[in-house]
């Protein structure tokens, strides 16, 4: 028996929400994009991570310089990864030449110094090596994210929009790919193609890590294509392409962005793991996982060779994870910010004035 039958008219259970006014006022007259942006900027963890990540990226990529389409920038650091300067003995203990000179405590030696991250056993400047490794790891992360994002979106969108036979066959393909553990296929491919260059490796890894994303996108498309606004667009004569790109995709973008960030934070760890096992980046090229694997035995004698690459991996992965978390909160319509006592008091005051 439901309420409508008893009273003969529609009765609604009105949820009493003391904070509803505050939320409605905050989002009044804003577009979806503006609301999301506002929520994201208010997520303190995500904002700090974004700033940390961006400054780290600028720092890393400016250190050794880069060259895109012939426009080059030499970098501000004095050593290249191929340079082999003399081992620095001054200021280090006698058994351990080449100790790091980085000093963050304000004082006489404050600053980077000659070899901020120390030198390895040959004398190579470890700062240059770590920066090159960080460049490689970030490149791998971005390429995997882009490739996996592209395939995940395309396959998921086509399967979810067209349904039927296309959907079934694409989803079986996804089943194949999901069955194969990424580390397994990554190792097989990485072992043989790792020597052909980092980007090649990243491309292959991207090709095997889109399965989960495509399932999520498909699920979202399946629900969205039944919604009224899609019917309206179809009645108005919109083509399939227009419906997919202009109507459905913008509504599914939340899931996509969040998951691509998750894929990216996983990607940097995947690359590190593969390089560590010897299936990823191979010397003479450098990556953070490779550096850790090469110098893990020197942990007891030269701990800096081990600490710095690990710290960079953690900082990058942690900030990407936090940014992903902030985006998830920002895109989630049910998500509500915590209402502080001050907000509530202000709201009550203004309500009382009315």
């Amino acid at each position: 028996m439901n309420i409508r039958n008893i009273f003969g008219r529609r009765a609604e259970l009105v949820e009493v929400d003391p904070d509803a006014d505050i939320f409605n006022k905050e989002t009044e007259g804003l577009s979806q994009g503006q609301i999301v942006r506002k929520r994201f900027f208010r997520h303190r963890g995500a904002m700090i991570s974004l700033i940390v990540l961006l400054s780290l990226l600028i720092f890393v990529f400016s250190t050794l310089g880069f060259k895109i389409f012939g426009i080059g920038y030499g970098g501000w650091w004095k050593y290249k990864i191929t340079d082999i300067p003399n081992l620095r003995t001054q200021g280090c203990s006698i058994e351990l030449p080449g100790c790091p000179t980085l000093d963050l405590i304000p004082g006489k030696n404050f600053g980077l110094g000659d070899h901020p991250f120390g030198q390895d056993d040959l004398g190579r400047d470890y700062f240059a090596l770590v920066m090159r490794g960080a460049e490689r790891s970030v490149e791998v992360m971005v390429v995997i994210g882009m490739v996996a994002g592209f395939f995940g979106i395309v396959v998921g969108a086509i399967a979810g929009f067209y349904r039927g036979v296309i959907d079934a066959s694409l989803m079986r393909l996804v089943d194949f790919i999901i069955t194969i553990p990424t580390l397994v296929i990554g190792s097989v491919l990485g072992y043989h193609f790792g020597s052909k260059g980092v980007l090649f490796l990243a491309l292959f890894l991207g090709l095997v890590s889109w399965g989960g994303l495509s399932r999520l996108v498909r699920g979202d498309f399946l629900t969205l294509r039944e919604r009224e606004f899609v019917d309206a667009a179809r009645v108005a004569g919109a083509s399939n392409r227009r419906i997919i790109f202009k109507h459905i995709l913008p509504n599914a973008i939340g899931i996509i962005i969040v998951n691509v960030t998750l894929i990216m934070s996983g990607a940097i760890l995947l690359e590190a793991a593969l390089s560590y096992l010897g299936f990823g980046v191979v010397p003479p090229d450098v990556s953070l996982g490779l550096l850790i694997s090469q110098y893990q035995d020197s942990f007891t004698t030269r701990p800096w060779l081990f600490w710095y690459p690990g710290m960079i991996i953690i900082i990058v992965a942690l900030s990407v994870n936090f940014i992903g978390d902030g985006l998830r909160d920002a895109f989630d319509p049910r998500q509500r910010r915590r209402i502080s006592r001050k907000d509530r008091a202000a709201e009550h005051q203004s309500a009382a004035k009315k």
């Binding site: 580390l183 097989v188 760890l269 560590y276 996982g289 942690l318 936090f322």
Partner: protein, 514 residues
Amino acid sequence: MFAYIGRRIAAMFVILFGSSFLIYNAAAYAGDPTEGLRGSTTPQAHQKLLALIRELHLNVPPPARYFIWLKGIGKFFTGNIDLGLTRDHTPVSTAISNAIPITIRLITLSFILAILIGIGFGIVSALRQYTRFDYAMTFFAFLMYSLPIFWVAVLLKAYLAISFNNFLLDGRIAPIWILSASVVSGFFWAALISGTRQRVIAIFAISGAATSALLALLSVTKWLTHPGLGPIMMLVLGGGIAVGITYISTGLSNKPALRSSLTVVAIGFIVYFPVEYFLKKYASLSTILVMLVVTLAIAIGVSYIFAKIDRRPVVRTSVITSIFVGILFIIDKLMKTWVPYVNTDAIHQRPIPTISQSNNLLPSGNFWFSSLDTVLHLVLPTIALVLITMAGYIRYSRGTMLEVMNQDYIRTARAKGLPERTVIMRHAFRNTLIPITTILVVDTASILGGAIITENVFGWRGMGTQFNLAVHNQDLNLLMGVFLFTASLVIMANLVADLLYSALDPRIRVVGKK
């Protein structure tokens, strides 16, 4: 139902066929097993090359060679599966079946601990949403999520194994450590229990003081170098466990449950010396299993004496308590083995090992020695795996719990005046477990295949090592054997997860779309 399972199993074979075809060809085109021999200049190189080509059918192109391999797999239906030979001319099935138990031993404990700790922290974190505890847990989970496991492993080896072994030579805890441990424990418990300001301060002081007292006692009595529980400690710990489990399981107001679980602990105290003797005289795994059965029987019997009506929660409480008491017995026995174990030549006062799954130099034949050895070898990999895997469970169970706590039935439960414990444990927690269970099942499979790095770092010779060997030696048969094992596990786990979901959640039916 059976039609559904049958259809899923049929689909499973199709998927396995497809993905194995994919990876077989990828691996075959990617690596040439004859690479090493081609460059060789030894006189027999050519003969060896020809023999290798004949043996591995290398003259057949990979897509066709796949079917030769598949023919061996097809014998699965006649009972003797043929996975081919490895490059060392041993059957792949032998290599894999030797490796599986080692991997299972490696992951079981860490998986259980990660689930318990992860779900526990996740749920408490959800109940204390937007508190400092919640923020700390979120940060902790993300940090663990971002850690490369091999990096953690090296740190653990350096600080936990080598430094801890050095520390154990003396076994006295420095005052600075006692102080910092007390402060950490004070913060932890204060944040965990929380409440008004006075209460938080009180909890901080009490737990901090308790921690320092405990550590000082351990230090003075040299307990760390001469560990053991003894009957009195067993009684105290068991009593605490009984009260705690009763509180979570039924609430302390359920007198029969409290009485029967305390009685179980008391029985454990009474039979301490006979059990001790028994474990020493007949030390073997089957003895432990027999004792487990006896323990469960006692627990059920006791609860039948105390509870006349509504027996199920009482039985549950006392059974869980009795299992914990049993674990205490085992721990006690292992601790008593500690001193003779540490003083053997093979160990040489350095009990926490950093590498391998067992110490071959130990005198064989002593059940408790080898058990303690296994446990100690598990310490480092287990900590590494738990830290990394529990992060996901913290996040996931927190999210699910928050969602469940917003449901109407929780409000209804509160509105009809149920105590908060019942609302959380019976209404919210059970519903939180539904999605978590399914994710756990899928994770079991992926962890079994994914301990590759952990095995590599800690030198365990399980599935991960086999896989490593296979890729490095271009050993296609071994690679496919490992792959077939992990992939079928993943697919079966997915099926089990779907079935479990429908069994746990009556709203979902497994009929599939028509």
